[in-house]
Structure formats: structure tokens, C-alpha cells
């Protein structure tokens, strides 16, 4: 006789119609994340409307977001640089699903932006003022900043990156 596992599958309607007993629970999952020295300074830079990076005095590699050491040569990265707020799309995605897994009509376009003059260093952000079909790898973009009084020292102090010639 073939093995028949016990139990039964549940459908959404079983839950909606209370066909089975359930316990609903929402854990308090708050966190506080310490930024560290380099990211702390980076975020303060964003508040001031600047993208800061670090340059390794030994190998010349630029890190943005900045690091306190170079992971190539394990030297302290001594020189802080003010970098331009323009860059190039390294990769991107078109997401119709929000962070809470709900569907959204207008997609979010997350992209890794290589900051100009920083080698291939860059960070993840979102693309705005562009149709999903128009976004391309290699596209040149520029940061759109939040109003100075609204900046909080957060990555969202840059609202998004928009296409830029």
C-alpha cells in the first residue's frame, strides 16, 4: 500500500472561513543596527548632501560606501574623498512586489549604482523618473536628494537616482 501522509493541505479559504483553529501572532522584531565608524560618517555625509568614500593609501582602491580598512591589502583606508553624485547602472531589477510581499502596480527599480570616479565601487539604490523599459545597464544617473531639512542621515536622504546625460 502506498504511504499516505496524514493531514490535509490548507487553502486560503480554510483560514478565512475559520475551518481550522489558528493563533495569530506578531512578534516585536525591532532592531537597532550600529553603523560603525565608516558608515556613520557616510550617513552624516548624505545628510550634508555629499557622497563620501575612502581611498586606500596603499593600493589606491576607492570604497563607497566607505570602509575603515581595505579588504584587498588590509591597510587602514586613510583618505576620505567627496565623490560626485552621479554614476552608472551596474545592474538592476524591476520589482512588482513590495518588501511586505504585497503586489504593487508601479514597480520599484532597485539598481546598483557605480559612483563616478570611484572605480567600480557603488551601492544599491532605486531608479526614479524612468520607465522600467528604458532602464539599461550602463545608463548614466544622478542622485535626487531629499530637501535638506528632511534629511535624516539615512540612505533615503538620496530619494532615488534619475537618468542623466
Amino acid at each position: 500500500m502506498p504511504f499516505e501522509p496524514p493531514g490535509r493541505g490548507l487553502k486560503e479559504e480554510d483560514l478565512e472561513r475559520n475551518n481550522v483553529l489558528t493563533v495569530a501572532y506578531q512578534p516585536m522584531a525591532k532592531y537597532a543596527w550600529a553603523t560603525g565608524v565608516a558608515i556613520g560618517r557616510f550617513l552624516n555625509g548624505l545628510k550634508a548632501g555629499e557622497i563620501l568614500g575612502t581611498k586606500c593609501d596603499s593600493c589606491g582602491r576607492i570604497a563607497v560606501p566607505p570602509r575603515i580598512f581595505c579588504e584587498w591589502c588590509f591597510k587602514r583606508t586613510g583618505t576620505w574623498l567627496k565623490l560626485p553624485d552621479t554614476g552608472t547602472v551596474n545592474t538592476f531589477s524591476i520589482s512588482y512586489i513590495a518588501t511586505d510581499t504585497t503586489r504593487q502596480k508601479t514597480p520599484t527599480i532597485p539598481a546598483v549604482i557605480e559612483i563616478d570616479s570611484a572605480g567600480h565601487a557603488g551601492f544599491l539604490h532605486i531608479i526614479g523618473e524612468a520607465k522600467p523599459d528604458d532602464v539599461r545597464i550602463g545608463m548614466h544617473v544622478k542622485a535626487v536628494w531629499a530637501d535638506p531639512e528632511k534629511r535624516k542621515g539615512s540612505i533615503t536622504d538620496i530619494r532615488y537616482f534619475k537618468p542623466h546625460k
Binding site: 483560514l15 489558528t22 493563533v23 553603523t35
Partner: protein, 146 residues
């Protein structure tokens, strides 16, 4: 959300909906409908599992027979909680005990009406039938048997 540039604060919006499973559902419905505790019987191991489960954890046989369990038992272990599960101070301490039952294997963790000690005999006090929802909290608490 930022407080200052040295700390980033946030939270995960996580929602759970937990089902009790086949045996757990039977157990909770028996409490809700009849105000009774039941256990799953393994005839080959001569054990009555409380809370019931669908397999015997000793011989792995499928359990389909349910037997009533008396609603009084013995405190095996206890604790007194002064904080809720978010770490906030409770207005009143809550007594929690692990209660074993003479005829069953396992036991239940629940609130007790008053402070208890290991070895105290306690009994389940059920909510009024109209107030039961099919939850373990349909047992109001366990109280000491004088």
C-alpha cells in the same frame, strides 16, 4: 528610520498564523466543546500523550485513538514572570507552571491562579462555554486543589 547617524532603527513586519495540526485541533476542540482534556493513545507503548500528537514518538506508530484525561494534575515545574514577552514590566506577576497528569505522558504549560510549588496538586478551570474560542486560553488557569 534614523535616530542619529550611528544607529539605524527598524522593524520586521512579521505576521504568523499558527495552526494546531490534526491532533492539536482535536485537543482544542474538545476543550472548547466539552471542557475536557484528551490525550492520544498508543496501545503498543501503553502511553497517553498530552497534548495529543499523531505519531508515537517511541514506536512511530500512527495514533488515532483518543482518551479522556482528568483535569487535575501535579506541578512539575513553575516560574513567576514579571515581564511580558517584549520585556515590558507586567502590572501583576504571572505564575506559569508545567502540569503533569497521572494518567498521561507529557503535560501542559499554563498560568496558575496563585503562586504554586513543585508537587502542588492543581486543576484546570475552564472559561464559560460561551467565551471559549478553541484556544489553550479556554483554560482560564490552573488552581490549587486544597
Amino acid at each position: 528610520m534614523m535616530t542619529d547617524s550611528n544607529t539605524v532603527e527598524g522593524d520586521f513586519p512579521v505576521h504568523f498564523r499558527y495552526t494546531a495540526g490534526l491532533a492539536g485541533e482535536k485537543f482544542l476542540r474538545e476543550i472548547k466543546d466539552n471542557g475536557r482534556l484528551i490525550a492520544a493513545r498508543c496501545n503498543s507503548c501503553q502511553l497517553n500523550y498530552i497534548p495529543p500528537r499523531i505519531y508515537c514518538e517511541r514506536c512511530m506508530s500512527k495514533l488515532e485513538e483518543y482518551v479522556p484525561v482528568e483535569n487535575s494534575g501535579v506541578v512539575q515545574s513553575y516560574t513567576i514572570c514579571t515581564q511580558d514577552n517584549e520585556g515590558k514590566q507586567l502590572p501583576e506577576p504571572v505564575n506559569i507552571a508545567f502540569v503533569r497528569f497521572p494518567s498521561a505522558h507529557g503535560g501542559l504549560i499554563h498560568k496558575t491562579k496563585e503562586e504554586v510549588c513543585v508537587g502542588d496538586r492543581v486543576r484546570a478551570v475552564f472559561k464559560n462555554k460561551s467565551g471559549r474560542t478553541g484556544s489553550i486560553l479556554d483554560i482560564e488557569y490552573f488552581e490549587k486543589i486544597p
